[in-house]
Structure formats: structure tokens, C-alpha cells
């Protein structure tokens, strides 16, 4: 398999500003919509789920380019600076522990996508003062999510279900940093977690960017996200967008996107959904948010999907992540169950599969592949 992390020589030449960002990422269709380049300056903004350039910035170097998860990145260097290399795996990044958990509170589970682990952990971190501010993806208008900032643990519990469309979480982080929050926790997709990691390690200017306020990153497993515009167009053909209450993708054997509405559940074949996938996601090799403190995804259990859908699997990556999970165990916020044998190996295989697909996709894009080293 090709080593597709950018080599260090490329790193130095990889510095750039908005012009390079626009050429290599935005204009190349590789933007993840994470929002890392938004809110630092007046030149980019997010509209719906798309990052747009408002005016030409003209600076040769910018934090926009430095923080973007799709500009060249020395992932190995990043990993060695942020993680204990002894626990790093080639497939999943740092793995200090692997668990099957769910929120003990049934109410949290009901509102959440799966086992409610993320919601429960964020509420716990707020309640215990590990963080004073949490940034989550919440419900926006129609099928559009919106980044929301909460300081009240109860409010954290009100958010939960996925729409498979990205929200500009890092832009929200940039915005919140300007305020009086001191300890910020972020629920992040893999690209958003990578952007935050790059911000922690690559200061480009003396200007304060508030990254030291970042105290917790809870990563989300992610296969891909959908383009809002394309998904909206698809769903409009099936239902009234205002009736959509949530979405999910059961295990791959179903090959279906389930759309929950105020009435019936609509099942759409993934073949039909596939054209709606963001181009950027096809080039992403990070399925498990490797640059987080701990990552959470849907569980796979021998009992089958109906049982598994109310559980999560969790990869703990840092000391801080482990402390939070253990606190949740001690206080009874999370329930744990035994990890089925082979689960971690299956996850590694799936993650490797995504890295492989992404590498092929990148190679197919020609020169672009050379320029956009991606999470490995």
C-alpha cells in the first residue's frame, strides 16, 4: 500500500494562504465544511454546509491554510506530538482502550443516534467542570444541522441525532474562543478533529487563536457526509423536508439510508445516496476520528442490529479520554458490556478499507493526490 502521508519536504512548501486554500481545497472540491478556515478572518464563511470565499484576502500565509484538514499535513509528526506512540496503530491511530458502552439514562439514549455515549460524556464533562463549554452538532433548519454551544449539562443532553450533513464545528470553536469560555470541549468528525489537532501544533502567527482553550475532543466515527444541496434535492423527491426527524444507516448488509419522518420511515438505497456524498469524504482515510481524545461510533454486536443500535463502541486515545470514560463508569453515567471478540479487528479492517479506497480515489485525481496528504 502506498504511503500516502505527505513527506516532510512537501510540508515546508505546503504553507499558503487563502489563494492556495482556494486552489487546492475549495476550488478542488475537497472542502470538508469543517469550518476551520472560518471565523479567523472576514474572508471565508459557511453557507449551508459549504465554505465560501467572500473576498480575496491576499495574505501569503494564513491560519486558514494551516488549519485546513485537506492541506498537506505531516500526520506522523502530528501523531507523535499529540499521542503516546507506543499505543499507536497503523489502522486506527492511538488506541489506549476499546469499549462497548451506552448512556445509562434511557432518555438520553432515546434522543441520541445510538447508545447516547457522546451526549452522556459531554454532559458529564460539563457537570464535573472538565470543560465549561461544549460545542455540538444540533438541529438547524430542515435537514441542515447547526453547530451549537452549550454550557448547561442538561442542554447537552437535548442534542443527539445525525443528519449526515456536516456542521461547521471548528468555525463555532473559533467563534467561541473569542468569548469568555476557558475550557472548551468539542464533538468532532474526523476532519474537524484533524483541523483542531493542526491548530494545536501549527501556530502560523502571533495572533492569539485560543487553541489553548481546547480541553476535550470527542471524535465521531464517520464514513462520509452528504452534500446538503444534493441530499435536499434527493429527499424532496421522497418527502416534505420539514417532516424529517432523523436518519441512520444500519450495518452494511442493509445497504440503506433510513430517513425517519413524523410519519413513516423512508428507506433509500445507498446506491441512490452515493452521488450525494461530498467529494471530499471520498478522499478521507480517517474513519474513526484518530485525532481525538476518544472516539465513538455505532456498535456491532453478535445479537444483531436491533440490539447493537442502542450501543456504541469507543476508542480511547489519550489519558484525558481515559479519565473521562473511567469517571463515567464510576458515576454510573455509562453502562459497559464486554467487547465481543474480534470487534477491534473488524474495525481495523474497515478502517483500513476506507484508507485504501481513499488512496485509490486520491490517485485517480492525479496531481491533487500529491498535494493533499490525508489522515493515515
Amino acid at each position: 500500500m502506498r504511503d500516502w502521508e505527505s513527506d516532510p519536504a512537501e510540508q515546508e512548501s505546503g504553507k499558503g494562504g487563502q489563494k492556495e486554500l482556494d486552489e487546492q481545497v475549495l476550488g478542488a472540491g475537497l472542502c470538508t465544511g469543517c469550518g476551520a478556515c472560518v471565523g479567523l478572518c472576514p474572508y471565508q464563511t459557511v453557507y449551508h454546509d459549504r465554505t465560501v470565499v467572500l473576498h480575496a484576502c491576499d495574505l501569503a500565509q494564513g491560519r486558514c491554510y494551516a488549519a485546513c484538514p485537506r492541506t498537506p499535513t505531516d500526520l506522523a509528526a502530528l501523531r507523535s506530538r499529540l499521542y503516546n506512540e507506543t499505543v499507536c496503530t497503523p489502522e486506527l491511530g492511538a488506541v489506549k482502550g476499546f469499549f462497548i458502552t451506552r448512556a445509562t439514562d434511557e432518555g438520553v439514549r432515546r434522543r441520541a443516534q445510538h447508545g447516547g455515549t457522546v451526549t452522556a460524556l459531554m454532559a458529564l464533562a460539563l457537570r464535573e467542570g472538565l470543560i465549561d463549554t461544549a460545542i455540538l452538532a444540533g438541529e438547524g433548519e430542515g435537514i441542515l444541522p447547526r453547530s451549537i454551544t452549550v454550557r448547561d449539562p442538561e442542554a447537552a443532553g437535548m442534542q443527539g441525532s445525525s443528519r449526515f450533513v456536516v456542521s461547521p464545528t471548528v468555525a463555532e470553536f473559533n467563534r467561541v474562543c473569542l468569548g469568555n469560555a476557558a475550557k472548551i470541549g468539542v464533538v468532532a468528525t474526523p476532519c474537524q478533529a484533524l483541523a483542531l489537532a493542526k491548530m494545536r501544533t501549527q501556530p502560523v502567527s502571533a495572533a492569539e487563536n485560543g487553541i489553548e482553550k481546547l480541553h476535550l475532543v470527542v471524535g465521531l466515527f464517520c464514513g462520509w457526509a452528504l452534500s446538503w444541496q444534493k441530499l435536499a434535492a434527493l429527499l424532496k423527491k421522497k418527502t416534505d423536508l420539514a417532516r424529517v426527524t432523523g436518519m441512520d444507516i444500519p450495518p452494511s448488509c442493509y445497504h440503506t439510508l433510513e430517513v425517519y419522518t413524523t410519519g413513516e420511515t423512508i428507506r433509500i438505497s445507498l446506491d441512490e445516496v452515493d452521488p450525494c456524498v461530498r467529494e471530499s469524504c471520498r478522499t478521507c482515510g480517517d474513519m474513526t476520528a484518530e485525532f481525538s481524545d476518544l472516539s465513538v461510533g455505532s456498535a456491532r454486536l453478535p445479537e444483531g442490529w436491533e440490539t447493537a443500535r442502542s450501543w456504541n463502541q469507543v476508542i480511547v486515545r489519550t489519558e484525558r479520554g481515559m479519565d473521562l470514560l473511567e469517571l463515567a463508569r464510576r458515576l454510573g453515567v455509562l453502562e459497559f458490556r464486554a467487547t465481543p471478540p474480534g470487534n477491534l479487528e473488524k474495525l481495523k479492517a474497515a478502517s483500513l478499507g476506507k484508507k485504501r479506497t481513499a488512496a485509490i480515489w486520491l490517485a485517480g485525481r492525479g496531481n491533487t493526490a500529491e498535494r493533499t496528504g490525508q489522515a493515515g
Binding site: Y47, V53, L54, C57, Q61, A207
Partner: protein
Amino acid sequence: MSMDREQKEGAEVLLMGNESIARGALEAGVRVAAGYPGTPSSEIIETLSRFSEAGKLYVEWSTNEKVAMEVAAAASFAGLRSLCVMKQNGVNVASDFLLHLTGSGTRGGMILVSCDDPGALSSVNEGESRHFARLMEIPLLEPADFWEAKEMTRWAFDLSEAIRNVVMVRSVTRMSHASGNVVLGPLPAVTAKAQFLCDGPVSDPDRGPVTSAPVIQKHRLQQEKLRKAAALFEDSPFNTYEGPETPELLIITSSACTLYSREAISLLRAEGRAGILKLGTTWPLPPALLKRHLRRTEKVLIVEEVLPFLEDQVKILAAEQAREIGIKTFYGKNDGTLPMVGELNPDLVAAAVGQILGIDPPAIPAEYREKLRALTAALPKREQTFCPGCPHRASFWGIREALQRDHRGGFVCGDIGCYAMASLFPAAGFHTAKTLHAMGSGTGIASGFGKLGPFGMEQPVLAVCGDSTFYHAAIPALINAVHQNADITFIALDNSGTAMTGFQSHPGLDVNAMGEASPKVDIAALCGAMGVPVTIGDPFDLIGTRVTLNRLLEEPGVKVLILKQSCALSPEKKVKKRFLVRVDEALCRGEACGCNRLCTRIFRCPGLLWNRERKKAEIDEVICAGCGFCAGICPAGAIRSEEAAK
């Protein structure tokens, strides 16, 4: 310097060319004057409006030039002397009516004054209205100085009545906007009662209906009138010759080029070798006069702006008279002796005359050249952009914000007004406006673009149009877009006046050219009556404008957005600032990543300055109009605006 009612007959006063033309009309007893504002013509109607008086002189700013000509024609049909005034491309607008009017003929003396703009100093074209005189078969007069501008205009009314047809007087920017001494003549007591006599037979020019039919008979009659005019031109005092009896080179010229030609000959000290035949009656040319002068020379240089109109006519006459006058060598535009585009000036004419006569133009003295260099180096560099506090800057800022968010490559079809600068200087319109043609054409072009969806065009189409332009020519285009169900967003940039040309009234205002209260025609109501959704917004409401626009861009069909905010130079705004604006230096980020001077680099209101020493923005309190809009664009909130005390 402006002419007023107190000045008496016999007084010698300094008048602008346009004022002199207005004075000529007054001295001729003009009763009705109508026009549409347009540089360099606007001061004629403005001057006349100061002399307006019920029952004595009616003056109006018409909806457009065609209507202005129709209004003036009605006065003529009713036996009054009338005048219509426009800039060069206004004649294009009026030309359909003009074609029929010149066929029907006139009664009271009627003058069409067209002020051309060679070099396009205040235009987006270099159109030549002189060709219309030939095309429409009416006499053409061109004044060459300020006194003549008055005298010629006065005489043009007599000529019009003598031949019973419209007479065209053509000025140029340098004639209309420069000033010279003029001796005022008497203002006649006018008493003629307006009455349209129309009960007679069609063949009766005094009492019959007025039409251009029967066409063949009327057309024949029109050409007889033209021959009569040519005969009168043979002895016209407006055609003069200065120079040797048999000049080595005969310069034939007219209008402001007469002054350039005189200066060129003086510069070359060629008074003994070259003569100037200055023509005031440039169409139809008086053949005998021309024959007399062409006979006495071998070489002929025709000096005129812009196209070779005179040159072509002189050559035709020379060909017709070749047997009697001999073969001449012609110099001018066609052979490249003089440029075929742009304004002329004494240097260009001197170079041409020098080339023909083999004289080197005198070198510019080194001392003079040095002085010139020092003076021009000291001039502050100013870019052409919107004024401080201009609502157009805010409108285009909002449009840019919405189009970039929309992300489908949407663009604006521009139109004629101050906001044309958005098309002419991309940075002024934040790179949104991409077409610019005639008045109202932005909307017509948008209507066409708006039907290209089925051909794969996915870009949203916007049209902008000022309030005066809306009434002038955008209404038919907008109706077309509505009827054809084109997908466009039409934005009326309503700044409550014909701002670019100096706040002339228009149908959207409650006052007319004479300062009388007038009913106003409401743009929103008019658009609403077309059955399309109309939103009214304030361009200074940045977020509101952007959100509204993004919503409208998603909707099919014609959507109308009226962005209403008075011009920063409007009389009510000039009085006081609405906001006191200042920069909080502690918050201003300066050049750090990253606003990178959004305020002075991108937004570029002239009221915002960048202090290079302190590396901070500041407000130029002298020119800041106090609109407060910039407070909303500073990402650091460093620009503060406070409501000014009442």
C-alpha cells in the same frame, strides 16, 4: 457663475456653453423645454428651469428623451417655440419619434439640442449624433464658441419656422462645459396662445392633422425643406473663413475643433500658409460656399470630432464639383492623419498640420515640462469609486455577500447611473457587475439570460437599475421578463433622485423640474402590479439584504428587490451625519492575520483611511458621511458608530 433673471440686455457675462444655449432659446422666446438629464447636456434644462413661469415657460425633465421630444413637438404643433435637450445617446432613444416627426414637420420653431461627448468623458459610448441629422434629413448647426452658441440657438428657431421642420444643434463637452463671454440680448415678450389647429385637410401644414403620411409626398416635401436650408446656409454668418486668399492648406472644421485648429496654426506660425474654413452649418453643406473655398487650395484637412462626418460630405461635394475645382488631396480621419477615436486637442491638430506642411511643432520648453511633471506628481491619486456613504457601495457589498454564498457563479447585469461604476471598476462593485450597455439594457439582458436555464445555464442572474433609469427604459424590459417568466432577480437601487447628473427630478419624486409639487409614481406599486413578488429593503441593513437576496436567488421567475436609501449627496443627507463613526484602536486588528485591512483594502470607502505609521484604520471625519455601514463590516468590531445628536 450662473445666469440669472436679474441680468439685463446688453450685459456681458461669463456663460457656460450650455447656459449660452439656454439663453439663446430664451431670447428666441422658447415656451416649452423638455429633456432627460445626461452629461454634458443637463445644464441647459436646469438653466431654463430657473426661468420657468406659468404660462410663459414650461420646463420638464421627461421620463426619457423620446418622451421629451414628443412633449416639445406637441408645443410646436400648438404653435409655440419649443426645445428638447439630450446627450448624444439620448438621440438614439428619441430617434424613432424623430424619424416620424421630421416626416410630419413642425409648426412653432422646434430645436433638438444634442450634446455629444467625444472621448466618452462622462459616457460609456462615443456616439455621434451628427449622423442623425443626415439620417433624418434635417439641418444641423454646430456652434464654435460661447457667443455663437447663443446666437445660433436663437437663429435655429427662425430656421425651423422657415422650413417647418426640426433643427438640430449639436454641442460637445468642451463647448457645453467651458465658459466664455456672452453679451445678453433682449428677452422678447411672448404672447402666442397655444392652440392645435387640426380640422383642415392633411395637405394643410398649418391647420391639418400632423402625420408623416402620406409618406412619399411628405418625404418629398421634407427634402425640399432641406434644400431650402442649404440655400440659407450659403450666406450664413456662422460660416467664416480666416487665412490667406489662396492657402497652401485649407482646414475645414466646426465646433470646438475650430479653436484647436486656430491654436495649432498659431503654434506652428503657419498663418500665412493655412486657412480655416469654420462651418457652423454642417448639414446640408452649402455647395457654392464649399466650391469657392476648395477652388483656392490643393490640400484640404478636415478637423472634427469624432467620426469623419464632415470629411465624407466635403469629399462628396468635391467629387461632384471636380470638373470645376480640380482634384484635391484630402487629409483627415480616413487617411489616419487624425485619430478616428477620442477627443482632439491643439497638439494633435498641430501635429497633423505640421506633418502636411513640413513644419516641426515647437518643442515644449524644458522648464515648462519640469513644472508640469512637478505639478502632476503632487496630485493625489484618487481612484474612481462611490462617494463616502454611498448606498450603492452597501448594495453591492450585500450582493457580493449573497452571490458568494450562493456559489453558483451568479452575476449582475449593470446599467447606467453612478452604479455603472460597479461594471467599469470591478473593485468598486466588489466584482459582481459584469455587463454594461444602454439605459435599461441591464434588465433586458437579464431577461434574456434568465431564459437560458434549459440550455444548461445554472448561474443566477441579477439586474440592477437606478430609480431614474427604471422609469426611463427598464420598465418594458422588466415587463418582458415577467411575461416571459425569466428567472431573474431585479434590484432597483433607489436613491431618490437622478443622482449622477445632479439630482434632477424624476417620476418617482413629488417635485418636478420647476420645483412644483407633482404626483409620484411608486416603483414598488408598479412592480407589484406586474404580479411579481416585491421586497423593499435598506442597503445599509447588510444582513437583511444578504438574507433576502439569498432567498430570492433560490426562487424561480422574476423577483423584485427595491434597495431604498437616499444618495449620500442628496440635499437632506448633506446637512448632517446620521452616525458619528470612529475607530477603536485597541480593537483594530491592523495587518495581523486576519482582517488584512478589509475596511480600506476591500470595502474602500474613501471615508476610511489606513494610517501607515500606526497600522490602524481611521475615519476621515471631513468626508465621512456618517452612514455607519462600515461598523457592520469590521470583523473586530473596531469601527464604532453612534447615533449623532439630533
